[in-house]
Symmetry: C2
């Protein structure tokens, strides 16, 4: 679904039992030994050294052996399976890195008795797995290492809920809690909250499924699964890189979004001095499951659908610009038609989502879902503080938005996305030190 | 999962209410009017003329307007979103055409009172939708035509069950019925049988989801949904074209498969003079949902897993060939080790699936599934007669196969895949004439 104005970004529609080594080391692909890393006291250094420590968010090729031969053919590019994104850096990967074609959110509850010491073990295992899987180097405990070899830009992004923060003996920020209730929410309880979030993304569903299962198996002695949500965007390569996604209502979704390179992005998205020390460099994720009522959406005409949003379905251009304009043309909320009526209706989604306050912006990362006869959007946004950024936008939409007739929020979760980490560090290191 | 021998191909793991035109024709992308086609009495001719009638199974580009600009970049190929596969020909598309990255099987039950005349209406609508959607030209009733514009090799393949054949007043072949019971089957009733099957495949999940919904909406006055199963293979472009898929057990799956260009393929797969007239040029699909017990599979070592199958996990080569051999090296079932024991264990999957009878072969098209905490394979195979091809293979596996410990068949369906059709013809035309 299209965004609204240059100054706001609205919500649119909108066990570790096997780790100690396997009986058969056997002939197999590249692996790295977690045990060696653990005993060296420098978790991740091995991988960091092996693959070259990333200095930017650019794509790397996986190390030797993973590049398949390229079949001759005028239109076939070099296969991208070996592409990797570095997991290390000031922020976790998977947030501002290019949107992947496939996305899975998996939420867990901590088992009883998992204390800070156990959490440290959990995060040590998780860190090793993230370093290995994202680099295309199967962790030692991986029984299907071939499924890890072609990560296709796999990223794993880790978030925590208030329950985990408490177990770590740290203090959670006020926003790390269920969102205030919205009038129109119809939460079904099946996709809400959690203690630990693992967000896995890749351009290929196979390494994604494998990574999800590997991590799940590794964590099972610490956690129990709560829910999982799978989403997709256009396939990698189906459109030019950088094309804004379309949602299942047919709209270009995500046009208005702060650019990670723009000045002020840091203050919008990355938690700084105003947040707890353990979260500096992290972010706040709001994930909303938004069901679309596509059968009734289909029943209104194209003009009515465009008026509902304020943008054209064809190319996402605002109704206030000529049809040949493009999606990034700013909306003119003051424009009137020949009869003196506003071109963008008073209750259009674009207008209701628009804020004059430049600090009321969020960084969106939506994905489509379509399963079990239900279609919708996994609306995700990152920000410093959901209570000051997502909530006021959503409150306006909840109150009055033409689009509400066709969208229903059925799931809601807030997670603290941990800061980035460097080779030799654990994910969540500062949290595990008690914040 | 790997196959076994060159002479057999085993199962491995084994409402048309909106069609009459929309209120707002509105600015929008290319469309073609179904009404025009229907009244002309030459359904499909319009599209056939517009896109050029396909003479081969090669890929075409969608007509004007669907090719996005190519972003500069050394590794980015021309976007493939506009790629189309012709739907016309002696056989339906989606069977021997290159395996797509995403697959959805949707089964329906006919509503009461849908007689032969109603079936003709159903198939007329369906034919128009298939012609439009696969060509990247939104049918007139499509409210989100932009989602149809980039089909990414979308195919729609139509199959029928015995119930539909009876309503058409035709005679079903003996094999068009539930398969004989297998001892180890644990069918849960959620993915079995049906009157009508719509198999949708594409390299991009977005046009696939859209096509599935369009067709579903169009057919709702004739049918009610029974079940839907979504599967995937490696993403297009992640590996060189033609790479055999891997399943979630980590195995290369589908190595041994008859080649559509080989002599004798016709007799194995396409129904000929021995079948009912309405089915000549069609095929018989067996679809089995096979759950994988990955947690316990992980608990046995790599050597044991390779012995279970008879092939190497690394590259699918048979254990009887040197490790540097490749997946297509024939298996030597007579080979003995230094102690005189068979290199391929007596109850290995590869040996049990192997048949000395060259007519006992099937054409496989598997896909992975991974949802709701369950992983497995959507095992699909095409043949002339399941009772003579799939069933004897599966009976041997059901009786004794080392792999059985980790795979369970939980869904089973047989459909008659209708013959191909040409521009101006309806899908299922011969069936609708009473066979």
């Amino acid at each position: 679904m299209p965004g609204t104005s240059p100054s706001t970004a609205p919500p649119s529609t909108g066990a570790h039992d096997a780790a100690a080594g396997e009986a058969s080391a056997a002939p197999g692909p590249r692996r790295f030994g977690r045990r060696a890393l653990l005993t060296s006291g420098a978790v991740g250094a091995g991988v960091g050294a092996a693959i070259g420590i990333a200095t930017a968010l650019g794509v790397q090729r996986a190390p030797e052996g993973s590049g398949a031969a390229v079949t001759a053919g005028s239109r076939e590019a070099e296969p991208f399976g070996g592409d990797t994104l570095p997991c290390h850096g000031p922020h976790q990967a998977g947030i501002v890195t290019a949107p992947a074609a496939h996305v899975r959110y998996v939420a867990y509850a901590l088992r009883e008795g998992v204390d800070r010491a156990a959490l440290t073990r959990l995060f040590r295992i998780l860190t090793g797995d993230v370093e290995g899987l994202t680099a295309g180097v199967a962790p030692l405990a991986d029984s299907e290492p071939e499924l890890a070899e072609r990560p296709s830009k796999l990223t794993v992004t880790v978030g925590v809920g208030p329950g985990l923060v408490a177990r770590a003996g740290a203090t959670a920020p006020g926003w790390l809690a269920p969102l205030p209730a919205f009038e129109r929410d119809r939460l079904d309880g099946a996709h809400d909250g959690g203690d630990l979030l693992i967000l896995i993304q890749a351009d290929d569903p196979l390494p994604l499924a494998h990574a999800a299962r590997m991590i799940d198996r590794e964590l099972r002695s610490f956690v129990t699964p709560l829910w999982s949500q799978q989403g997709f965007r256009q396939a990698r390569g189906s459109e030019a890189d950088g094309t804004t996604m379309r949602n299942l209502m047919g709209q270009i979704d995500g046009t208005v979004n702060p650019d990670p390179s723009e000045s002020g992005f840091e203050e919008l998205v990355w938690i700084g001095e105003d947040g707890p020390a353990w979260l500096r460099g992290g972010s706040a994720l709001v994930l909303r499951r938004i069901r679309m009522e596509l059968d009734t959406w289909d029943q209104i005409g194209r003009v009515a659908r465009e008026q509902t949003i304020g943008r054209r379905l064809s190319n996402g251009s605002p109704l206030t610009a000529p049809p040949e304009a493009e999606e990034h043309t700013p909306i003119d909320f003051e424009a009137k038609d020949a009869k003196g009526l506003p071109v963008i209706p008073s209750f259009a989604h674009a207008r209701r989502a628009h804020s004059e306050d430049p600090s009321e912006r969020i960084f969106r990362r939506g994905a489509n879902y379509d399963e079990g006869g239900e279609s919708g959007l996994l609306f995700a946004c990152y920000q410093r503080n959901p209570l000051r950024q997502f909530v006021p936008i959503q409150r306006r939409l909840d109150e009055l938005d033409l689009l509400n007739e066709w969208v229903t929020h059925t799931g809601s979760a807030v997670f603290a996305i941990l800061p980035g980490f460097e080779p030799g560090e654990l994910i969540g290191a500062a949290l595990l030190e008690g914040g």
